[in-house]
Symmetry: D3
Subunit: 293 residues, 6 copies
């Protein structure tokens, strides 16, 4: 269960209102790689985990932290919106043409829908969707997903850092950047730990018996474009990273099969088909079939 404390994890206060920037900050709150995503992702991974002990504690330990980040960003966005011009007519400031033009870059739902409050959406106003969440039960796969999420997240915060001069906002970003640094390191460390503990190896899932895959193509780089330098990377020669094979490089496919004949499903689905063949197949003429109903 969760308990809330009416404090934030870090002190930051914007120097001045900025509704345009408030919209941009929505990305790291409610976007594909925003804080809602990681909070929910670590939550579902923790609730579904099949192991007791340190991995479960890890997921629980960080999940609650991320819900706190959701709160910090929502709070900052509300502060940025508090006194910002957001399109109300009749105020001197609002009727300045420059201000009016800038207001065009705000999230208009901040004004119309939430009344100068944060929203669970991204910087283009798309509602957050659980389609962003990954929780498969396989920890090697999921921790890789987590590492990616923290990388994309830190990347977006770094970009946002250059889109404002506000020192209070930058304080918040500097905190999030640091935590993303930790979390990138943490998930990559957790992957190392999984290997050390003998719980999972490459390729994921490692206890599926590899002899059941079509092994001739398991370590082949197949080049389906006409670029001529893809053979110069580590992926094209030398031992594979899982230690089970040797990379090789090939132009195009090494296997192929003729395209099968088109399917000819039941005539009563009314797909377009050359009738006699279909009729033969369903044993009787279409007319017969249709009469039968």
């Amino acid at each position: 269960m969760f308990f809330h404390k009416q404090e934030l994890q870090f002190a930051s206060k914007p120097d001045k209102p900025d509704a345009v920037y408030a919209r941009k900050l929505q990305e790291v709150l409610g976007g594909q790689y925003g804080e809602i995503t990681v909070a929910m992702q670590y939550g579902f991974q923790s609730w579904n985990i099949h192991l007791p002990g340190k991995y479960r504690d890890l997921l629980f330990g960080i999940g609650a932290e991320e819900f706190g980040h959701v709160e910090m960003l929502a709070t900052m966005i509300a502060q940025l919106l508090e006194d910002a011009p957001i399109g109300i007519t009749g105020d001197a400031v609002q009727d300045d043409p420059t201000v009016a033009a800038v207001v065009g870059g705000t999230d208009v739902q901040h004004a119309i829908v939430s009344g100068a409050g944060a929203r669970p959406v991204d910087s283009n106003g798309n509602p957050w969707t659980a389609g962003y969440v990954t929780a498969s039960g396989n920890l090697m796969a999921d921790f890789t997903s987590n590492a990616n999420a923290e990388m994309q997240g830190r990347l977006q915060v770094a970009r946002l850092y250059h889109m404002t001069d506000d020192s209070g906002v930058r304080d918040l970003l500097s905190f999030l950047l640091a935590r993303d640094t930790m979390h990138q390191n943490q998930w990559l460390a957790a992957i190392e730990q999984l290997k050390e503990d003998g719980l999972e190896q490459l390729p994921v899932p490692s206890n599926f018996p590899q002899r059941k895959e079509h092994t001739p193509v398991s370590y082949q780089y197949l080049n389906f474009s006409d670029g001529d330098t893809a053979d110069q990377g580590r992926w094209a020669s030398g031992p594979s990273l899982d230690g089970n094979g040797e990379f090789s490089y090939h132009e195009g496919t090494t296997t192929s099969a003729p395209r099968p004949a088109p399917t000819r499903p039941d005539a009563r689905l009314y797909g377009t088909t050359d009738v006699p063949n279909t009729v033969e197949k369903v044993a009787g003429s279409v007319q017969d079939k249709l009469h039968r109903e």
Copy 2:
């Protein structure tokens, strides 16, 4: 540009129709980690890349392969549906109660909408959405996303392997498993290559100056749950994976700030607020303001 060849990358033909399994296969065609996702993801990464040479060739080279996987799965799904009972009444087989019950597990849109054809949806019928795609321009982050996609993909195919006895379907899965093995290895190798080439390091993005982040918390494990074993993992002590710091372990937060006062935006947004304070702020009584319009 793309050219199509009327061949498949691997020979496989289902032993028998199976509309229930056809629905399940939709997951790795049109799901969050299905082939459409990786085809589009590698496509957008290649079109947006900032580097010429081997990384671009790599992305182009594999992108077209994945579009071919989309085609292979769509073809297999259509074959599985071809003669399967999908709810048409009046056929002896269909009116068998057991068959009728099994039909309940099919994707009914396979019958009603696509007429026994594959669809760009997942195994629950959710349409594929570009919200699944990642293409940030930062290759370390994106290759980590790619590695995760191939892990989740191979995991799902491995699960699907145990949900059918059909040898023809298993042929296809054995091929996909092998390619996912390669692609996991490949993206992890590409990450190593990026480091070797000096193009990107941890933490991502590595050329953002780390001194601008709030460094005191950059390598702290903060435990926001009451589990007592999270300090036993590699993420809680020892050198960080990026080589720039030393992990430490802490119960709860090491920083905090009092919650700021509530915001009180413009009275004409009609949020609920204690009036006098608001009025003071907008310089005049609410009545005054409202009269002014």
Copy 3:
């Protein structure tokens, strides 16, 4: 069945074109609480209702009115767009930098997709979705949902009122505000009527036998945050609104249970688990199982 009459419910005509405001008006046409939502919501409630007579007549009677509001807003939006600059180059007005900047605040799909026509989307361009609709068959719950929809709707229209000086647009808004006033009152009156008619009481659903709920916590306010004033509200002491209990106030939870052990599903789902335990459970070693297939 529905019949259409080529009249609007109220006369209003914009003083001047304003594509930025046209975008804003989309919110109350195609947003979460726009007119499409209430029209469809009252429609589905009426088609699903289990009662003949006045409640059914009420839902039918207002449903058709709301479809007329959809039409009024769509018509107004098209009028606002008619001669507005929307990004076409080569016109003197459009090449004015101020105009160009203002155009940034328009819905660009108004120009590119609908050719200066209204669209079934909200003010951020999100397509309307039936995920907004509520029609449960329980009228107390649904009428509360309706009351909320009319409150959110009137709130948004009130905010929009202050975002334009156009007297024609304000005419339309003044009409919608009045109807929302009526509809708020109407749904709350309908809730009173339901109680009077003995059809439904609190808590909803009222004929579920309350003794089957875990009654010790049925009227407890549990405080999961550390604020210290929540005990000062009507929700924390005194008789409950349903007349069936007495509110009490508690810090944190009054019930709890240890977290159950992690689940350990079938090994062939390849979740990460400590193997021996899993193996024991599926009666045989993983290797054995996998050989068996």
Copy 4:
């Protein structure tokens, strides 16, 4: 900020696995009115609130409780899935035709995607979306939305109660039913409190000056259907609930206006129009305009 404790709010453990019921429980976890919705809704309302004190404490106090309900449902779903047949072939139980048929009623993504874990989706597999969340800043409107959410939620739990005989699951449901009883009462009490504190009245938003609405229709019931009993309800006569007016009943509309002429936007949007009129309007022939570019 949030802290997590590795306990649940109530003890409950399913008697036996049941993947079909696990799917159904997803509705109250990740559906329109599931626990994720109320947790996020109360969260955003608390972060955006404009008042200090008891209302803010109320929102914070219940928000964290609901995140705990999310966790309880996710845990229960994972337990229901733990040993349930979910489509793996080669097991005696799975190949029983009756079992196979029942498996058709499960969420196949529980097997393929999450490996017998809970997912942030509803009972039809639709990912949770923030389009369900309401947080307007106006507390009367938002508390009405909250009351509705708790009504719909309790209604769905009551229905689910009759869809299982499992005593452990019913324990959990009995707890949720009781909390929903409390929360319905609580939000309705909070609405009463708002009125008592003079912070908000009907109609919402109450400080918008009602004289600016088109008052002649503010309390008219307009009957747009041909039912003849809608005049028998409290909404059709007597004083309005806000105390500001008197209901009256009318067949059809009391106001109307002729439909305005069609709009004729810029010819370069290529909408279909009768050319001369358009041309006149854009001051020059279409040919002229097009030559000019």
Copy 5:
């Protein structure tokens, strides 16, 4: 404005309950090509139209009819659900294993969410979305979209016809099939009328000056696959349908250009790039730039 009449357009009553079929019928109510789509599509086309007279009357005339079809399908679905087993335990019928299995094929939200009522979703439970609607302002394009919608709709109804033996349901379908026949004919007739009236020709939009397109490829069939029979169709030789050109057939592309060099955007977006080049471009070293902030 719209008026509602408490009648249906056609008499039909199901012989018996059938929740599985009720789910299937949802497709033509709330699916991509269901009645909600056409009702809303014709609605938006009518509200946005730029012409008075017969085309506007046509769109208004049919739009209201389609809202009536929405109502008819919703009513039928509720009737099919009325006494159908939908998963309630403890009833003899429900505990029959065959019945239990069949219930797996129902839309479980019909039971949990709408209480045996229709929902605005498709047969897989996806909420209807306005992303299905087309209303461009160009009538030739839009009428072609309408013709397609009526074709897909009639096709789906024809498929559904074979999925039930219920004579009452078939009555309803026979009515919808007839109306779809009319509407296909009607929209194709309207396209002919547009041509006759000189309002629009091929290619759409016909008053865009065709000399501004790259005319050498305007009538070339370019074969990007290796099939060898595409030259046998009417699209590959002879006069084009718009009467403005002559079809020709070509293997692959007739135009091409070398792929441009990769883009190298501002270094502060932290995309992966070979640094010196980037630095040169932004006129100063990355370090310099970053110091400057």
Copy 6:
């Protein structure tokens, strides 16, 4: 399978950066009728087709071409973004108020998420969804859908043509306009070919026996609005386009049925109903039923 060639189908290079226009171009890349839609649509139609020979070759032949158009637009968008001001502070150009205002019209995710790269979204930032795709297996219906897609596509490109003066961008648009001209002609020619080959006629699906539809209304124009000119079109009199009937014109409906009584489903769904009737129906009082559980 697909092969990629590192060339584009046409040479075009923007004269200058323009992030606002880059956003607009997203519409024809990732919008409802953008290139992703047609590429995926023709792909699924080709993989599901039931005919060998020229129609299959046609679909394969054009599908790969469209994936190449996706690439061309993505490449152009990245070029337009390359050196455009997109909100980074501290640069002289960016701090110009006019520039700042214009930046408000850009897609901010181009800066924050993709780092100046193209995205699989439309011009309002909505992710592309497979809900746009049509592939029914009936070629007459699907080719009509394809013709519409090419019409809407060409219409949008024509509008975009007037929203830029950039000669390089116009080069690309002139190429796309020409291909859309071809593709409109091509799909309409393919429909003619289907008729000539005797594979499909009107109404679609033509081999459903028309005597099974309610033929009295098959060719009636029913006027559900009060416009008085709809009888002047070709749809209201004369022979129908399918050659099977004669159009006639009618005011309102020619058939009708009284609205059926409300449904009264199982009491344990807790819909609001007048109890006695319900109780009678479920054979026993509600209390009895509830005790029984």
